[in-house]
């Protein structure tokens, strides 16, 4: 269970980026955060694993507040929270399997991590996860040789090997072609059910959000304006959210 209570953040004084954001997410839920550019979607997502330090509020994962964690506790929180990026953020020069194994670093001693010493079980798990995302034949290829959709699936495998409770996806399909985007969204949805994950994705594509998400959170100018089941997202809500008539885009 992830509970966010009264989250506040401002980058400049008297210019709040987030005001009083609260929501709850149960395990096994695929959540889409939608809203116009600059509304604060990325700020919310990055506060959840404290890549951005928010100003006030609570972020409670299974009863513990991540915001009050010290450095070592934060590291333990972060390894339970996978993250998938718009630009994949892989080490392009390394092989696919090396990039997947990076997800284990949070569990290793500093020295073992620095020298990249992984156990046999970790390597086998990396291979089985690559199989799960359909890349078992690419394990020894350099990431720079892969297509966008394949890179994103490597990124997803890297987050899964962390044994996460939560996966945060920051615009996971914004750089992908429509077919790869479908593919990645389906994969994320399937994994959410299979591992009983909390999967939170920032999305610009409302039709994707409606199709795959269980719960939709709408953000406008740093305020939460919608937090319901995906089926309840109406055209009225979208009009308030985006200040204009974008229902045509849905068809």
């Amino acid at each position: 269970m992830l509970e966010v209570k009264n989250l506040q953040k401002s980058y400049e004084k008297d210019k709040p980026a987030l005001t009083d954001i609260s929501f709850n997410i149960k395990p096994g839920t695929f959540v889409a955060i939608i809203g116009p550019s600059g509304a604060g979607k990325t700020t919310i997502l990055r506060s959840l694993n404290q890549l951005i330090k928010d100003d006030d509020g609570q972020i409670i994962l299974d009863g513990k507040d991540i915001r009050t964690a010290n450095k070592e506790q934060l590291r333990k929180f972060r390894r339970q929270i996978g993250m998938v990026f718009q630009n994949y953020n892989l080490v392009e020069r390394l092989t696919v399997i090396e990039n997947v194994l990076h997800g284990r670093l949070g569990y290793k001693s500093t020295l073992a991590g620095v020298f990249g010493k992984y156990t046999q079980e970790e390597k086998e798990e990396a291979m089985s996860l690559l199989k799960k995302v359909g890349l078992e034949n690419f394990a020894l290829k350099r990431c720079s040789e892969l297509s966008g959709g394949q890179k994103q699936r490597v990124g997803i495998a890297r987050s899964l090997i962390q044994h996460p409770k939560v996966i945060l996806c920051d615009e996971p399909i914004a750089s992908l072609d429509p077919a790869s985007a479908q593919n990645v969204m389906e994969l994320l949805k399937r994994l959410t059910d299979e591992y009983n994950l909390i999967c939170i994705a920032n999305l610009h594509q409302i039709n994707m959000a409606k199709k795959y998400a269980d719960q939709i959170i709408g953000i406008r100018k740093g305020h939460l304006v919608f937090d319901e089941d995906a089926d309840l997202l109406s055209e009225d809500i979208l009009r308030t959210l985006y200040d204009q008539d974008i229902t045509k885009e849905l068809e």
Partner: protein, 263 residues
């Protein structure tokens, strides 16, 4: 709000004005220095003619070749060793000082300050300063090249880290990896090709610079060039220059090959 036609017209005027100003500065400067442009240009062919006649290596200058060769190898090794040591120091300092991997704002400012200090003192000044402390020796040349290279490499490495490593750094930080794990598993592998490319470039540059340093500190290829030149053995001096050119071109070719493989 001005119209597009007006805007473009203005832009055209701006460009003409800038070119006119630069031309004006040139004319003004040559008037102050009473620099005779025409004589300057006509002197160039004569200068080359003089070089061609006097600096041409003859059969008698062949006897200097073993000596030149020995000094040249010494110079190349000096350039390589100073670059390698400078790179090792610079990568460490650049990690401390870059915006992405750095410790904090104060350290970043200090590192930038150090880099710019080493970079902005000219090589000639470094050689002269160090000459007082370390006398005429290879070590003086080594240090002069080392300090200048450190100045350039810290700056270059910091920019490489900031450009190329920030995204992967963020991803690994998000997995709960510790600072050193992120540095060794993400940052260093990611930036390695660009770093090597800069190291190769610095080696080429240092071979050229080592010649100048050699003249000042009395070591290496620069020193024997100076000796031949001042003892009017222009043919031997020409031979020395030729040897330097060949070695620099060879080094450039080799490092271009290496770049092609690693990038």
């Amino acid at each position: 709000m001005q119209s597009p036609t007006n805007f473009l017209k203005h832009k055209g005027w701006h460009q003409t004005a800038i070119i006119a100003i630069i031309g004006g500065i040139y004319v003004f400067a040559s008037w102050i220095l009473s620099f005779d442009n025409l004589a300057g240009f006509t002197a160039i062919p004569r200068a080359f003619a003089w070089l061609g006649v006097n600096f041409k290596p003859t059969s008698s200058s062949m006897e200097f070749l073993p000596k030149i060769w020995q000094k040249l190898i010494q110079t190349v090794l000096l350039a390589i060793s100073s670059t390698v040591v400078a790179s090792a120091i610079s990568i460490f300092i650049a990690l401390l000082g870059s915006k992405v991997t750095g410790i904090n704002g104060t350290v970043q400012t200090i590192v930038r300050g150090i880099a710019s200090f080493f970079r902005n003192i000219p090589l000639v000044a470094w050689s002269m300063i160090l000459l007082f402390s370390f006398k005429q020796s290879d070590f003086t040349g080594f240090l002069a090249l080392l300090l200048l290279s450190i100045g350039y490499l810290i700056r270059a490495f910091m920019e490489i880290i900031e450009d190329e490593a920030s995204e992967t750094m963020l991803a690994l930080k998000a997995t709960g990896a510790s600072y050193f794990q992120v540095i060794f598993q993400a940052v260093l592998p990611q930036i390695l090709p660009s770093i090597l490319s800069w190291i190769l470039y610095t080696i080429e540059n240092n071979v050229r610079d080592a010649t100048l340093v050699g003249i000042l500190t009395g070591t290496g290829i620069g020193f024997i060039f100076d000796v031949y030149f001042k003892s009017f053995r222009y043919d031997a001096a020409g031979m020395t220059v030729l040897a330097i050119i060949i070695v620099v071109i060879a080094l450039e070719t080799i490092s271009n090959q290496i770049r092609r493989v690693i990038l």
